[in-house]
């Protein structure tokens, strides 16, 4: 169990808890039950948690799978810098957000689920994980690989043809020295 990224699971749980809190809040407000103000709070808190948790963080190792359309929210969440990057802050935030939900029945379930997510975030923070945004990498210009595509820069190590032609009148003068030393193939 050594390399589990707990933050990924905590993120799924927090998103689900946000939805449960939102649903409970809607039921409470629609039914106009007693203490329905807590249900209205549940709606607001649920929406906030969903927006915060929708952009998935980048995995430390391996490929990260984005959620559909999360780019805009990634940019927003990234803009808050260390507040959203640190998981201790998130754990505390979720723990604080879930407390008012306990006062009314429809939001109790969302409250407990958010508390569980907060605990898993605490575990992730203790293990030193951080939220890093998934952003598309800038395109590097395509460079052809070195080996075969480049034309050779130097001519082969021999002088031009007319000089190479053996001049029988002048055998001494027709010998030449290779400009680049030629080695034998081992």
């Amino acid at each position: 169990m050594g390399k589990i990224e707990w933050a990924m699971w905590a993120n799924e749980q927090a998103l689900a808890s946000g939805l449960i809190l939102l649903t409970g809040g809607i039921v409470g407000v629609a039914g106009q039950f007693r203490d329905w103000q807590f249900a209205a709070y549940g709606v607001a808190a649920g929406v906030f948690v969903c927006l915060l948790e929708y952009p998935r963080g980048r995995r430390a190792k391996g490929t990260s799978v984005e959620r559909t359309g999360q780019y805009c929210l990634t940019v927003c969440v990234k803009a808050f810098g260390p507040v959203t990057r640190n998981y201790y802050v998130r754990a505390l935030l979720h723990a604080a957000l879930c407390v008012p939900g306990a006062f009314m029945l429809p939001t109790v379930l969302g409250c407990v689920c958010l508390a569980i997510a907060s605990l898993i975030y605490l575990l992730a923070a203790i293990r030193g994980e951080q939220w890093l945004p998934i952003l598309p990498k800038p395109e590097t210009a395509e460079r052809p690989s070195e080996s075969i595509r480049e034309p050779p820069k130097n001519p082969p190590p021999r002088p031009p043809a007319d000089q190479r032609r053996k001049r029988l009148e002048d055998v001494e003068g027709s010998s030449y020295v290779n400009p680049i030393p030629v080695t034998v193939n081992e």
Binding site: K3, I4, E5, W9, S17, T23, G24, G28, L109, V112
Partner: protein, 555 residues
């Protein structure tokens, strides 16, 4: 350039590929909708629920209707997971036609669909019951005290929930479902499979608590509707007008027999029986015969187990307690036991921490260089348990006359056992022509089965069937084709290409060479590959061949 018309979906190909699956989906949706509507109408109009409906309102009908749908889906969700039963169904040629067997490939998708339905209808059910709790509290009935769940008028709804059996068990069920659902997304399964597996095994707790939840008897129906028609008047009450009859008796209320027990107990017993059978079957001792280290981090393990038989294309689930006591992993068999040789083998790619530790324990310390030499057999290999074999779609390669097998990297393992079976005796099968396309990233990967491919190719040439096997190997890295395979695999070198295969032209060639035939397409590889192939299978036009798509799925 192929025009846009060529890629349009061909109706005949679409129905051959996707038709059966969509019919099953429509039937399932119809069953859910029908059950929801029938139960809703029963509680809305039924006279035995008149007083309860008056107290609770719409919440009663919604909660009971969604409970009925939940019954159906909790029953169906277990059935696709009975792997041994599915393997038997797949293997029995007489019982199922080939079209039905292709439906069995979709069992995991059906399980996911039922799971999603359970989650959605649980939300409806819980919301409706939350409203019901408030109604029980606010509309506490002095007239019919046995109908009440609250103890007095205006009782705090939270107290009602947490002090009644259905309430507490309902809350526990919500939390279990919350854990199971949040750990089942694709991202979690891909990154940390253990979290998914351990939380998903909470399902047994879910079912036990569910059986207690429905026995609570909170909602009651009226038993004596003939004696006391709902809305009738008390004997001493003044008639308000109209023709209401006079009551002859007080209404009697009784809780339902928990219908869920009937729905759920069958599949639950079947599943538990199957797990027990699999456990007993996997208790047999497994002896490791040889361990071979192949290039590109692949380890081949050959094992012996008494009484083990398997068909080509099946897979096993391996459990090694010294690596991890609870984790089990599926591996396709690359060598099936035959009459001559009883050993069976798997190829394990070392890619995660379980496989790393498994490989470490199998290989000795001084096998650091990656030569293909059998490691000297040690006396103490780790103890292993093998569960299986289970069926997969690759078993159907032999039931087509023409098959196209596309493998991506280690996805070649199901086809390795198929090729081995062909090497033993290719004439007994219905298969007449096999197109084998293998796409890898590194050249060394081809060495896993280079010898097998060359042997089969050689044998078919010598037996005068050169058109039986068409091999195409692709090295997908653009600049990878700097070296070739060793000299003795000359036949493979001649069929080695650089870059990715061009699927439309390959499909066109196959269609032209096999007119009016059904070609089975089998793919085991990354998602992008299978998606591209499925699209092509659906878009082929007649009078070429019809391509039927079969896909492996593991995670």
């Amino acid at each position: 350039m192929p025009g846009r018309g060529r890629m349009a979906v061909s109706w005949r190909s679409w129905t051959a590929n996707e038709g059966a699956k969509h019919i099953v989906m429509v039937l399932w949706l119809a069953a859910n909708a029908g059950l929801f509507w029938k139960t809703f109408a029963l509680y809305y109009y039924g006279p035995q629920y008149y007083y309860l409906h008056r107290m609770l309102g719409l919440g009663l009908c919604l909660s009971r209707a969604s409970a009925a749908v939940l019954n159906l889906n909790c029953c169906l969700v277990l059935l696709p997971m009975c792997r041994a039963v599915l393997a038997v169904l797949r293997g029995s040629q007489k019982v199922t036609s080939q079209r039905a067997r292709r439906l069995l490939d979709k069992s995991k998708s059906f399980h996911v669909a039922c799971g999603v339905a359970i989650c959605i209808f649980s939300v409806v059910h819980v919301s409706a019951h939350l409203a019901n709790v408030y109604s029980f509290s606010l509309r506490y009935s002095e007239e019919f005290p046995s109908l009440n769940v609250a103890r007095h008028k205006g009782e705090d709804p939270r107290v009602i929930i947490f002090t009644t059996v259905p309430g507490v068990t309902g809350v526990v069920l919500v939390f279990i479902l919350f854990f199971m659902f949040t750990a089942s997304s694709y991202g979690i399964r891909v990154s940390s499979y253990e979290v998914f597996w351990y939380t998903h095994n909470l399902f047994i707790v879910f079912y036990v608590v569910l059986l207690v939840h429905v026995a609570g008897g909170a909602l009651k129906y009226q038993t004596n509707v003939e004696d006391h028609p709902p809305g009738c008047l008390r004997p001493n009450a003044t008639p308000a007008g109209g023709s209401d009859s006079v009551c002859q008796a007080e209404p009697q209320f009784q809780a339902h027999f928990p219908q869920t027990w009937l729905w759920v107990s069958g599949p639950l017993c079947l599943y538990c029986a199957e797990r027990l059978y699999r456990y007993v079957r996997s208790c047999g001792l497994v002896h490791v015969e040889t361990v071979v280290l192949h290039p590109c981090r692949v380890v081949e393990v050959r094992m012996l187990k008494s009484g083990f038989t398997a068909r080509p294309g099946q897979y096993i689930i391996l459990n090694c307690p010294s690596v991890s006591s609870f984790e089990s992993h599926p591996f396709t068999l690359t060598t099936c036991p035959t009459g001559a040789r009883a050993a069976f083998g798997i190829h394990v790619r070392v890619v995660g921490d379980w496989t790393e530790r498994f490989a470490e324990q199998l290989l000795s310390d001084d096998a650091a260089d990656a030569e293909i030499l059998p490691v000297v057999q040690r006396r103490r290999f780790p103890k292993m348990y093998v569960d299986g074999p289970f069926g997969s779609s690759s078993e159907d390669v032999f039931s087509y006359e023409v098959s196209l097998c596309v493998a991506g990297g280690i996805g070649v393992t199901p086809f390795a056992s198929v090729l081995r079976a062909l090497t033993e005796d290719w004439q007994q099968y219905k298969l007449r022509r096999l197109y084998f396309v293998w796409v890898c990233r590194e050249l060394g990967s081809f060495y896993w089965f280079a010898e097998l491919l060359c042997n089969l190719h050689q044998k078919l040439w010598q037996e005068n069937r050169p058109d039986y096997l068409n091999i195409q190997l692709y090295l997908s890295q653009a600049d990878g084709l700097q070296h070739l395979l060793e000299k003795r695999f000359e036949a493979l070198n001649a069929r080695l290409h650089g870059g990715r295969p061009r699927w439309p032209s390959l499909f066109e060639d196959i269609a032209k060479a096999n007119r009016n035939k059904r070609v089975g397409v089998f793919c085991c590889g990354p998602r992008g590959l299978s998606r591209a192939l499925r699209k092509l299978c659906n878009s082929q036009r007649s009078p070429g061949a019809t391509f039927e798509y079969n896909k492996e799925s593991f995670s």
